[in-house]
């Protein structure tokens, strides 16, 4: 069994209005140094796979075909054996 921790972010060239609003909030909190705030999704899932290569293939398939929309998003993940 493997655990995948997946981060999905909107592509850097696409405006993230939520990130902009949060950046303003951080500045209002007094953290004026905060910049380039972007908000994405974190998905964790367990994969019942024989080996890391199989687990990787399944996670890639999941990310490419459902979890992320590659027109507007990118994904990264880590795999850990449970």
């Amino acid at each position: 069994m493997y655990i995948a921790k997946i981060n999905i972010m909107t592509k850097p060239e696409i405006l993230d209005p939520q990130g902009k609003a949060v950046e303003l909030g951080l500045k209002n909190l007094g953290i004026s140094q905060a910049q380039e705030v972007r908000i994405g999704k974190h998905i964790s899932l367990q994969i019942d796979a024989q080996n890391e290569q199989d687990a990787k293939e399944m996670v890639e398939n999941a990310c490419k075909n459902l979890l992320a929309n590659l027109i507007m998003e990118t994904y990264q993940y880590t795999l850990t054996k449970l």
């Binding site: 909107t10 696409i14 405006l15 209005p17 939520q18 609003a21 459902l66 979890l67 929309n69 027109i71 507007m72």
Partner: protein, 229 residues
């Protein structure tokens, strides 16, 4: 024409669409559930209506795309059949790859429900071909309507007359102030390369009843019926 309106869990504009097609325009309409794996025989146009399929979880339209009915809709589109997605239907069609681009959260981060003005663009698509007026007043009701596609895709779509509508002011001026959601190029609707799969965020079915004050939406249906082949 023979229309099919597909109902997903969370669709909520299906009955308005059936009403307009059947009662206002006198067309044949069948409503089918997303669990069907086949379309009725002689289907001319599949309508994917608005709503919040699967609660808009993950991304709007992302999960509906895997519904049992989708392969039949994809095959229908591949055969050159008409498919028309409105609002959440548009989102589903982009997620399914039947239309290019994607729909992001509105720039304002808000759900917007109001009348907007659209100016028709494509002279090739049956949906817009016979539209004579410069602007059409049609309501929008969405939180994820910011159309995005990369520059090369947009250029190709513009060159091939695949942009159906742009947001504009009452006179037809396409300005950033009249772009409700931050869509690239003020795009409100697009179509496929063969001009037979349509997607748009505004709701023409909500502006088509003769009993209502606004019937601008009806012209879109009439254009499609007129140019149906």
């Amino acid at each position: 024409m023979n229309f099919v309106v597909v109902v997903f869990p969370g669709s909520n504009c299906d009955d308005d669409m059936v009403y307009v097609l059947r009662e206002v325009l006198g067309q044949n309409v069948t409503k089918i559930f997303h669990k069907e794996t086949q379309l009725p025989q002689n289907t001319d146009c599949v309508i994917v209506p608005g709503g919040f399929s699967y609660g808009d979880y993950l991304r709007s339209g992302a999960i509906a795309r895997f519904s049992p009915v989708m392969p039949a809709i994809e095959a229908h589109a591949k055969r050159g059949g008409y498919v028309w997605g409105i609002c959440n239907g548009f989102q589903i069609l982009t997620e399914a790859g039947l239309l290019e681009g994607a729909l992001l959260k509105n720039n304002s981060q808000k759900y917007i429900c109001k009348n907007v003005f659209l100016t028709p663009q494509s002279t090739q698509a049956p949906l817009t071909k016979s539209l004579q007026k410069n602007t059409y007043k049609i309501p929008i009701a969405h939180g994820d309507g910011r159309y995005y596609a990369d520059n090369d895709t947009l250029k190709r779509m513009e060159d091939n007359a695949q942009i159906l509508f742009k947001y504009c002011d009452e006179l037809g001026n396409i300005t950033p102030e009249h772009n409700p959601n931050g869509s690239l190029l003020n795009i409100a609707g697009v179509c496929s390369a063969n001009h037979r799969v349509f997607g748009m965020m505004p709701h023409p079915e909500r502006a088509s009843d003769n009993l209502g004050a606004n019937t601008d939406g009806k012209d879109l249906f009439l254009s499609l019926l007129q140019n149906f082949s």
